[in-house]
Chain length 222, copies 2
């Protein structure tokens, strides 16, 4: 199993204070566009990978629907039933996994014909730098994002609440070709960017114009 930092309580305690945790989906700015990629859920078999707010106890307490089954399973090496799901969803989880190709193949197999995979990841441009750094260029005064290893995929260690969070950088090409080579058709592609209105309400989000944080994708099983 690759490191699952969400199982550590120090990290988790801080993570839970993020807007997206305290306010729920309203605190996740990319949610409206991710949701727009999802088909109608009524009567659908839906699988959410890396779900909820990190800890299953919490998730169980927050929902009360017999149709929901929570499982604690390592996504690396996961086996899924064939032609079972209408929707497979995953929010901000795939970039923690080292063995993503096997998982995407498994997801494709598990989708019914016409079924959808909808997921988000940290944007390749956001995760590419070996050291994440937004600096002011001395000469020109521009705020610049320092990209240093876009084509070198693999481990990126980040200090985020705790030291040493292990993420996996993949290029745009790798994500897209993972879908295509698994028999999925690309249907949706959004590099999340705040609207003028959202910027006015959240001036700090202007960094998103320099480089996006979130990449959202939708694909269909033919």
């Amino acid at each position: 199993m690759s490191q699952n930092i969400y199982d550590q309580s120090e990290f988790f305690g801080n993570y839970m204070k993020l807007d997206r945790q305290t306010k729920g989906l309203d605190g996740a700015p990319e949610w409206p566009q991710l949701r727009a990629m999802l088909p109608e859920f009524r009567g659908a078999q839906v699988l959410d990978l890396g779900c909820g707010l990190g800890m299953l106890e919490k998730a169980r307490n927050m929902t009360s629907d017999d149709a929901i089954v929570y499982e604690r399973v390592d996504l690396e090496g996961l086996k899924l039933p064939e032609r079972e799901y209408d929707v497979v969803f995953s929010s901000l989880t795939f970039h923690y996994l080292t063995r993503l190709p096997g998982l995407v193949a498994e997801i494709s197999k598990s989708l019914k014909r016409g079924g959808r995979l909808v997921f988000s990841v940290e944007h390749p441009l956001f995760l590419a730098p070996t050291i994440p750094n937004l600096v002011v260029d001395q000469e020109t005064g521009r705020k610049v994002w320092q990209v240093d290893a876009y084509q070198r995929e693999g481990l990126r260690t980040r200090n985020w609440f705790v030291e040493g969070v292990r993420k996996q950088h993949r290029t745009m090409g790798t994500y897209i070709n993972l879908l295509l080579s698994s028999g999925l058709r690309l249907t949706d592609f959004v590099e999340w960017c705040p609207s003028e209105e959202e910027l006015a309400d959240n001036p700090g989000w202007d960094v998103e114009l320099t480089r996006p944080t979130f990449l959202l994708m939708g694909a269909m099983k033919d």
Copy 2:
């Protein structure tokens, strides 16, 4: 008509000295992967937009096949016949055009069912910066590419042989959604990167690992 710098002889004279012009396709490192996206040409109706080596006289002199027709036409506002082509090809031309959406819609209309659009552009990561700058970060010694306006699309003025070459930056999302919304299915996607072998022969190409120069895409009319 947007500026067509290739019609200026000073620019053109220098441009012609590039490897890709003197050595032909052998001097274009991305060609093998772009070619791999192309279907068999035998018996096919093929349209090449922004073709050849820039000036039509030269192109006419280099080829002698009655089946080839050369035309000097502005690609902005181009009208094409319906369901005419098996292949529409364009190498490193789309990022000069301001009115690309109309052209892609026209291309989609002009493709036969199962026909292909194959094209390359300067990579969004390459063209995003308002000022292109590869610098050595003082603190860490890393070579970094300064990205400052990825989500601000539009004019990027570059000094390349001559001053003031006008290019158009578009995000990855814009390119992909242009295809999807025009009824094209994405089939191929390559962010060109030199192989270990090519790097050994051309050490200067290591900048491509920092950020890619070329984006190659293939799409099919359903």
